[in-house]
């Protein structure tokens, strides 16, 4: 199972674009890249998933370079309510999700 590496924490200000990069050097050919978001006292919430190039939805964009050894979650114009922990997950092992420490994003006014 591919191991992921992402920054422990990031700070930003309201209205800024936030980019969180995740490294996954050992990603397998069939692996998808998935990001979850977790607010305090809540369970993780799926936000975006991709295989290659770029994926965009109403919440975020996911950029994946050709070699797929990294990915970048982009949050446009963050607000205070985007303060959360963001997890990058790669691949599946019999269906179970393997969570790392995630990146704690703190958005300041």
């Amino acid at each position: 199972l591919a191991k992921t590496t992402q920054p422990i924490s990031m700070d930003s200000y309201e209205g800024q674009e936030v980019n969180i990069t995740c490294s996954h050097n050992n990603i397998a050919t069939n692996d998808y890249i998935t990001w979850y978001q977790q607010f305090p006292s809540q369970g993780p919430r799926f936000i975006i998933q991709g295989y290659k190039t770029k994926v965009t939805n109403e919440v975020a964009s996911l950029f994946i370079p050709a070699d797929r050894k990294s990915s970048t979650l982009s949050l446009p114009r963050v607000s205070l309510s985007d303060t959360a922990v963001y997890y990058c997950l790669v691949g599946l092992e019999l269906g179970k999700l393997i969570f790392g420490q995630g990146t704690t994003l703190q958005v300041k006014p």
Binding site: G43, L92, G95, K96, L97
Partner: protein, 116 residues
């Protein structure tokens, strides 16, 4: 559509007592998962049901933990007897299908278990 629900939201028990956590998955989701986070650690997988069958229980810490999913609907996770190190937040998640490469799981709010 209702999301994944868990009950209770918080439980405080004494060491040696028994606690049963309940999870109601999203209707129609055959896959049900249990995870937990103990203090300061990462979220860890406990087990996976497909309908009423245990597909993978490799994450269950020991035989004090018993999970069931009778009828393939809701699931219970019983801890008996509870120990101090069982304290943490227990999450339940469900998904509609389990492909090898992609799997969107929907999580409940979790049950915070405190063992004194």
């Amino acid at each position: 559509e209702a999301g994944v629900t868990q009950f209770p939201s918080h439980s405080v028990i004494e060491k040696g007592q028994t606690v049963t956590l309940r999870c109601d998955p999203i209707s129609g989701h055959d896959n049900l998962y249990w995870y937990r986070r103990v203090m300061g650690k990462e979220i860890k997988f406990l087990l996976h049901f497909v309908k009423e069958s245990k597909q993978d229980e490799s994450g269950m810490p020991n035989n004090r933990f018993l999970a069931e999913r009778t009828g393939g609907t809701y699931s219970t996770l019983k801890v008996q007897p509870a120990e101090l190190e069982d304290s943490g937040v227990y999450f339940c998640a469900s998904s509609q299908e389990r492909l090898a490469s992609e799997n969107t799981q929907y999580f409940g709010p979790g049950t915070r278990l405190t063992v004194l």
